[in-house]
Symmetry: C2
Subunit: 259 residues, 2 copies
């Protein structure tokens, strides 16, 4: 019934001192959970890799699940500090007065940081843990959304919104998803992509070109999508405009039910 076990003292921070049984457990658990997943990892594996006893996991973290949650917390706190290391983003109003060149530089750095954190070797546990969380969401997922994804998305929307000031918010959101989607794609389908490339990991040159392409492609996408009204697909030019709708939100028409 020990009182100092860290599952009673939420202390999320916990610098990685490395020594100490609980830290070694956390490190071992991070690696194994990322590599094999929650169910496929036994606390005996974790204890063995940490050079600790089977009971130590329960003593320090209450349960296997508690250990897993702690792993996720620490990992996303790490990512967050990585992403925030360039300082805060200027407020939206300021961004809108920045030059296009500056905005593009901001966007580029965002994309490059994402690639560095999630995709470029040496692979960190972040990506695998996130992928697993998308397969089997746990109690931590809402926390990750609120504390990590929402703010990151908001900042991206600020940048993109400044790049296409005439576009409505919904369009800006979709554009952010398009940009982030392009990047995460390389992480999510990594096993497939590596096999098609015939590599063991992404070459540095590959991730470099990936970043450049995503930015270029996205700038083109923004240019086309971001001119005021949302262009419908088979774009009958802007007049007849039959079925009501005032322009932007209007999705597309026909061809919706494919076949």
């Amino acid at each position: 019934m020990a009182a100092a076990a860290s599952h009673l003292v939420p202390s999320v921070g916990r610098l990685g001192n490395g020594d100490g049984t609980s830290e070694r457990l956390l490190d071992a658990a991070t690696e194994l959970f990322a590599r094999r997943g929650f169910h496929a990892t036994s606390i005996r594996d974790i204890a063995a890799r940490a050079g600790a006893n089977v009971a130590s996991g329960h003593y320090h973290y209450g349960s296997k699940r508690g250990l897993y949650l702690q792993v996720l917390r620490r990992q996303f706190a790490n990512v967050r500090s990585l992403v925030d290391r360039h300082g805060p983003l200027p407020p939206t109003a300021v961004l809108h007065r920045r030059s296009r060149r500056e905005l593009i530089a901001l966007l580029t750095r965002r994309v490059e940081t994402m690639i560095e954190v999630m995709i470029a070797p040496p692979l960190q546990p972040h990506g695998a843990l996130m992928l697993r969380e998308m397969c089997d969401p746990t109690d931590v997922m809402p926390i990750i959304v609120d504390e990590f994804i929402r703010p990151q998305t908001a900042e991206m929307e600020a940048i993109v919104g400044a790049l296409i000031p005439a576009a409505p918010p919904a369009t800006v959101q979709r554009c952010v998803r398009s940009i982030v989607g392009q990047v995460l794609f390389y992480r999510f389908v990594m096993p497939v992509m590596l096999r098609m490339l015939g590599k063991q990991s992404y070459p540095a040159r590959f991730t470099r070109e990936m970043a450049a392409h995503v930015v270029e492609f996205s700038l083109g996408g923004l240019a086309r999508v971001g001119r005021g009204r949302m262009p419908t697909l088979t774009a009958r030019r802007r007049r007849p405009q039959r079925r009501g709708e005032r322009g932007w939100p209007r999705g597309r028409t026909r061809r919706t039910r494919a076949r």
Copy 2:
């Protein structure tokens, strides 16, 4: 030692007759593997849901893993037949003579089919199984790559290549990834996205607008990226040509090594 158990007769086809113990097992396993994953699903769960005995799984499929592999095979055969139902794509040479409007229609249908198969409710097991296979690749992954992903990618490259005939193959490949990535994003981060939308599943309107946006955004990206020479990263432009941009392709310059 039964001789007719289907793990001895690979018979991948196997129409879904529905009755028959082995079919019920396969259906139950498909749903449970998709929902909970391989390790978190026990053959007792599967047998119970199929109204069969615990031993029937091993009798018909040899092992739990054999059952899982069969599930994946059938599932991707299904997807393939769904995608191919519009008939074969014209050969590349023919595509290059098609009008831009026709090519865009082809691209649009591809995107819409992907969304329909992978994302739009009612959710099919395909997406979840694919996501899990990206977390923990099995022996089937190479088969899926060769029999499903490679041909699909090749067809996409044919369409995109015809849309930007001046672009080198590597650029076409990257563009295909950008397009597919935008779509798959919505499937891979679905738990996060649904939480941010405050919905239980993607509304029909949402997936409609998603398809329209992806096509529009991508056409813009193609237009910018697809004009001739590949915009290399640090691209010393082909001649002095300071940074008085000529507008279009010129990639980005410096800023490659973020920090």
